[in-house]
Symmetry: none
């Protein structure tokens, strides 16, 4: 199963809608495919200019490691040097905190990831999960 | 004048519509703000996975140099080593060909740039210009 | 609202004057625009040669994250691996300590940042705030 | 002889004044010390955001090679691969065109360099030379 641009757009739209419903700060949302490559991205007005890199880093680490943001954060807290080394091999592109959410097919295969940043990491993840569910896909935060 | 996400989305929508009208290959379209930071991006189904970097490189060089893709290509053809050096100082992120289009305010100030990739450079630029005009903004290809 | 070079020069002049008034070590002061790009910089005689990168790193992180140095330091103390990861995605250019001060418009929008280095981080920040106030702008340290 | 900040500021002021006298496009001017480290920089309103890197690249190559921009350009035209290799060892930070001007003491020792960008390379160099002369120093373009 290959993630489509229409699905990516739907995830972004519904993630942003959830952010407004929860009254979060301006969000930035990226969707990556199964290879960790960018399909779609939007940065809401008022967000800091560098938010693409943070959103991308959350989603990129999730795809490349096959591990969602919550699990990455747990690992970083247990073994900071391990996640630092992981970042070495991935060119510094991994941001290991909640808000990086894996997308899985019905069969459990990773088909991409969503990265959300702008509010607290937990709120970012909650908005992403809402966007994924509203698109009829399975997320793992 | 600050480019909004709604304007960026409109540019992308209309650029893609023009691509379909011209029967172009799948397009990837990025919109950057006046500081060269990503506002929005979409990659159409069927495009190669690495298209974000190409679209970004076309738009990024335009903003950073204040010079659109057509002018960058002319300079690269006259002084290849100069554009190579420019790419050095910008971390290799500049793709100096048409399809990188400056966005200017009524007063002529650069407010961002659009980067399109997927078909020929000239077709990419034509689609970008159509998307910009349909959004009521001024483009310089 | 766009920060002008005259404003940037005024911030630098008044920050340096405050440094002399406080009898601080030689200061280096950078002013970045809303996209994180350098508008103006001065390094006082006697400062170490590498001070541009430190001043820049304080201001750059502030703009890119929309978070001033004091808040960045707090986050770094709580989640060291997070700020390390942030530095990865920004190419190692973030120095998360006081002395990176956000510039905000009357409406609260970030219009740039000031980075000061040379004395203690707290003294650097105090000098920056004095320079910003004397220029009639709003700072967030 | 060590270049002072006051001399650097004077060079920048007089270079900019020359630019206005010649009706050049907005200029960006950097002054580096004898070690190739930034002493002072200013970017005039209306210049593209990425101009620091270009100005810096012109001056940096001049100091590091002990060769002004005109001589670097001649070498690049004769041996493009050589200047490309030079850029490899200097991390891509050299922009080998006029506008990078060496500063020499009375005894002929390199004490720093000036980098100017914004107009044609030749006009950039002319403005730099005027700024250097008005400061009572010797320039080599």
């Amino acid at each position: 199963m290959t993630l489509t641009l229409d699905q990516a757009r739907s995830i972004i739209d519904h993630t942003r809608a959830k952010g407004r419903e929860m009254a979060l700060k301006p969000l930035s949302v990226v969707v990556l495919d199964a290879g960790g490559h960018v399909l779609a991205f939007e940065r809401e007005d008022g967000a800091a200019p560098g938010r693409f890199a943070i959103a991308h880093g959350k989603a990129y680490g999730a795809v490349m490691l096959g591990m969602a943001g919550t699990a990455q954060m747990a690992r970083a807290e247990q073994q900071a040097y391990f996640m630092a080394a992981v970042n070495g091999v991935y060119g510094g592109q991994v941001v290991p905190v909640p808000g990086g959410v894996l997308l899985r097919s019905e069969a459990g295969v990773v088909i991409g990831a969503v990265g959300v940043t702008g509010d607290t990491s937990d709120n970012d993840a909650e908005a992403a999960m809402a966007g994924i569910r509203a698109t009829g896909l399975n997320g793992e935060a």
